[in-house]
Each structure stands twice: as C-alpha cells, then as structure tokens.
Symmetry: C2
Subunit: 351 residues, 2 copies
C-alpha cells in the first residue's frame, strides 16, 4: 500500500506552477450541476446480499439519467453555450485539467465567454448505472450469459488506438499527446457499460432535451460520442444550433435524415497519423475518416454547412485521438471557437 | 421515450431564479481536477466480447485511483482547504447544487474563503472501477458466486433511511429535506461497488495521501464515508488538520488509535429524528449516534478535542440524513465553518 507516496513529478502535474496558476482569476456568474432525463424502474435485485438493507426487497431505482455540470462566465449570455460529452471508457474528466496539468477545454471555453455544460454519459461516472442484471446473476435468477458486455480499454490498447505511437510506450516523433503523463490518462478510464443501455441510447435523448431546455447550444462529442450530437439532433433539432464532431466513425444516414442535419452547421475534426497504426488497428481511423468525409459531402449536397478540419492538411501535425488533451489543445480550441463565431453565431445574427 | 419532456418545475429547479443567480460572481484563483493513488493491474477479462478491441487480450488497467475536483478562491490561502467525500450510493454530486436547485456546500465553502476538494470514492463515479470479475463470470472463467455484492438504494429505502419521513412519501411535519425534489436525489444514486475493493479501503489511503500532498486540510466524510477521515488519519495523520464526521456509525478503536486521533480536532454532526424510524431501520441511527458519542468521550479522555453537534439539542429541528442538501444547509455549513475557525485555525495560529 505504498501507492500514496506520489512521485514529485505527479504532484507538480496536479498543481502546476505554470499554466492555470499564472492565469487571471476565473469569474463565474454561476455554476452548478443537475440531471437530465431518467426514469423509474422496479428492481428485485437491489443487492445480492441476503441480509442488511435492500435484501429481498423489491423497490424502485432511477436509471438512464444524465449528470450535467455547468459554469457560466459573467459575460456568458453573449455567446452560445457549449455542451461537451466524452467518449468510450472516459468521463467528463476528458475536458478538464489535462493529464500533464494544463488547462482543459472546459475552463478555456468559459474564459472565452461560453457557458460550458459537461455531460457524463448515461450509465457512466456520476450518471450512475443499472446493476440489476449483475446482482441477478449472482443470485442465480438469470444465467451469466445474460450479462451485457463491459469494455475496459487497456493501457496497451489506449496507447496505440489513441495514436500516441505505433507500439506501446513508443511515441511518434512529432506526437502532440503529453506521453510522459500517459499514466494520468489511464486513471481517467472507466469501464464502459453502454451495452447495458436500451436503444435509442438515452444519452442521445438527454442531449436533445438539454439543448432544448437551454434554448440553443453547440453540442460537441468525441470518439464513441462523436456522432451523438447528430443523433440528438435527429431526435429533436430544436435546441441544436451547432455540432462539433471530434474523431469518430460517422454513421450512414438516409436522405431525410441528412436534410434535417443540413439545417445545422457541423464541424468535424480529425488529428494526425490516422493510417499509421499497425495490425488490427490499421484501418480503424481511416475508415472513420472516410465515412465522415462522405457525411460532410452528403450534408453539403443537401444544402447544409458541414466542414472537415483535417489538422495535418492545415499544417497542424502530430495530433493524437485525445485532441482536447494534446500539447496544442488550446490552439485547437481556438479553431473551434472561431468556427462557432463564423458558422453558428454569425448565422444567428443574420436571422 | 418521453422522459425528455421535462416538467417546468424541474427546469426551474435546474436554473433557479433565486439563490445562485442572485449571488455575486464567484471569483476563483484556480480550479481543476486530478487523481490520487491508483495502481496497475493485469486483466485477462478486459471485455466479455469475443471480437473487437480487447477480445482475448491480456492487458493492464489502472484501479483504486480517486478522482478529485477542486476550486480555490482568490483569498483561499488564508483558510484551511476542505476535502469532502460522499457516502454510499452517491458521488461528489452530494455536495453540489441541492436537489431543489440551491447552492451546495462545495460552492459555499469556496465563497467563504476555503479551497474545496471533492473526492469521488475509489470504485465510484469518475474514479472508475475494476470490471474484471464481472466479465470473468460472463466468460465462464469464474462462477457467479464470486461476484462481489453491488448495493443499490431504492427510493423506498432512501426515503426512510435518510429520514425524510416514517413511511415512503410521507414526510415528518418539520422535515428539512426538500422532499418535493426527492426524485432529483434519486437521480444522484449510483450502485455501490465498495465490496469490490481490497482492505484497507483505497479511499482511506488516497485521502491520507491527498491531505499530505496539500500540506494540511480538513477532511469531511458523510454516512458510509463519515469515519473515512479518521481512517485516513490513522494511516497517515501528517496532513490531517481537522476532521468533520457527518452522520455515521463510529468504529470502536484501540487506545493507541485514540491517542493518534486525540491530536486532531474532530467535529461530529447528527440531525433529527434519529429514533423515529419504523421496523428494521428503528435502531440504525441511534446505534451509530451512541457509538459516536462514546468515540467523542474516548478521544477527549485521551486528551483530544472532539465535539458532538447534535442539532436538535442546539434547537435546530427536522434535519434529515442529507444535511448538506437540507433547506437549512447553509446554516449548518456556518456551524462547521465557525468550528474550523475556532478549533482548527485558532489552534494553528497558536503554534
């Protein structure tokens, strides 16, 4: 149990003397947290224990809700709020302090005048999940085969799939992810229970509801959730003023769906080294990239405003899958902020 | 799937026109998040899927880490930082915006000049957990009997055990919990995986490490975690300048342990209606209260500074188990802040 003797390097990372500490004070008009969605479910397996609270009880629990944490800057009403939702095996921590202790996009966007809403996906982190099935297996009520899959991303898979380098612990020469702090990223990882969820994924429905409730937002998704903004807009586009899709595989849509999305400005962003991965990962990112390029073309053919920002093509090299944590993360944030200015807010002003 | 059509009441709760909105801007010197602790574990059951990423792979994951989110006010160096850790089936949401949309203790303590650190217990919420055993059962590698228990608190159990009233959906006449918003509390509830953890509980070790790292804090626990500050101080008292234990069952300690804790100011707080619950819950709180009174006496007999704040005895009536969410939550926070002034900081000044 010596894990509490932290190396000095980690302490420095958690409390950096550069970056945040040198920033001006952050002035918030308000902050807080709340839930969107959620429904009651009667469970007969609240516990697998045969004694103590809940044993043998049939009772109600709330499932499929989505936890949202927000901050509004003092000048926040001038800009469109941004809702950020994280990817597989992660939580809203994705958008906060980077693994090497720099400012995350959550605070940076607030400092640039946008209210920011961080959403933990339904069934992940502070949104909770439904453990009924797991207890039911322990109690012998259902067979183990009924357990949905839980996915954990290993350090080895993450390093290569997130494109830190071609082989575990070997970095690309121009790598932008702060690889010396990779262990801090691994601590962010949370087993993914999305296979426990019904369809449509409640996170999509909850994002659509949040957008409506806030009367207009930019929805931003990443990786597993990269296309969630589009899915939310297909359920209810009312509050979706703009979409930012970061590094995902875009889903093939029907013409009527494309027409719906053609009414919303869409930005898609991809980093570097998409085709530089070995073996089984070889075509993972190029397939997603190709699908998203096709999606952009289709939305624009339907009269929409979709744009692919492929960073290497813009001269920005070495970015990993974790764009919001890369060493140039604030440069990339500026690209998104500029895009919101030009495509979402300029459009609003012309109405 | 109509759960996204939120009643107006909930929208008002999430964005109250009173309370936070009327407050002065919140001025932060810094904010961020990081992890404490965590260790690598090799897992052969990263997924129970037989295809796709992780299938058949043996790889490493990080477990037992503790996620911490912090805010430092501009005048924060004048006061002792406070670390808040939540109870069973909950997350750090406990300390944030109340179920009926009022300011939580996290922001209130910051506004009163204290840096606040919110810790998600190891194996809960943004701290992640180890799903290896669950996948191993699905894959047939181990029998279902090896699954640790997962505990979910039902609405029915929570209402009575948290002392909102004697019977589900019936409130005590003087109830301080905002019972009209009980559904919002139920959304905060997360299955409890603490039975998956080794002993000593990594959260204890991580809290001790955090306290040392910060060079002096007040540790505050609630319910399941109510005695975690004491457990952390027994592992390493170096950084523990004060302890606040809210509504728990105090553990019987040995004389040498009591001597260790006698060097740290300790506040214990209990609300109302401890003995007013029916049937199986009847002696739950009175047993814990009695054990904590005995603990206070023992610490003081060992030369310590321990104090029991039993709210009804002070004329403060009707408080539930969720003191930090009750309608008089800021009044109770003031009692704690005053106690820190008098017992922790005054003591510091005299050194």
């Amino acid at each position: 149990m010596k894990n509490w003797i932290l190396p000095v390097a980690l302490i420095v990372m958690a409390f950096p003397s550069t970056g945040m500490a040198q920033s001006k004070p952050l002035v918030l008009a308000s902050q807080g947290s709340f839930f969107v969605g959620g429904e009651s479910k009667t469970s007969k397996e609240l516990t697998s224990s045969t004694s103590g609270p809940g044993a043998g009880e049939t009772g109600d629990v709330t499932i499929n809700q989505m936890y949202v944490q927000y901050q509004t800057p003092v000048n926040g009403s001038q800009h469109t709020p941004v809702v950020m939702v994280h990817g597989c095996c992660l939580s809203s921590k994705t958008w906060e302090t980077t693994p090497d202790g720099r400012m995350g996009w959550n605070e940076y966007f607030v400092r640039k005048g946008h209210s920011v809403y961080l959403a933990d996906q339904s069934s992940r982190a502070r949104s909770g999940f439904d453990a009924t099935k797991i207890n039911a297996v322990k109690l012998g009520h259902v067979p183990p085969s009924e357990l949905p899959n839980i996915f954990m991303a290993s350090h080895q898979t993450s390093w290569v799939l997130f494109r830190f380098g071609p082989t575990f612990n070997v970095a690309f020469p121009d790598e932008q992810f702060p690889v010396q702090a990779a262990d801090e990223l691994y601590k962010q990882m949370i087993p993914d229970l999305n296979a426990f969820l019904p369809m449509p994924n409640p996170t999509w429905t909850n994002l659509a509801a949040l957008a409506s409730q806030l009367k207009g937002v930019v929805l931003m998704g990443h990786s597993e959730s990269g296309f969630f903004p589009e899915q939310a807009a297909l359920i209810d586009p009312a509050g979706v003023k703009g979409i930012v899709t970061i590094e995902t595989g875009c889903t093939a849509l029907k013409p009527e769906e494309l027409s719906k999305l053609a009414k919303i400005p869409i930005l898609i962003m991809f980093g570097d080294h998409l085709g530089d991965l070995p073996g089984p990962f070889g075509s993972f990112w190029t397939t997603g990239f190709d699908a998203c390029n096709k999606f952009v073309q289709q939305v624009n053919d339907a009269g929409g405003d979709a744009q692919m920002m492929y960073l290497p093509k813009m001269g920005i090299k070495g970015n990993s899958h974790m764009l919001m944590q890369d060493k140039n993360n604030l440069q990339l944030a500026d690209l998104i902020l500029r895009w919101i200015d030009d495509h979402v807010e300029a459009k609003e002003h012309h109405k």
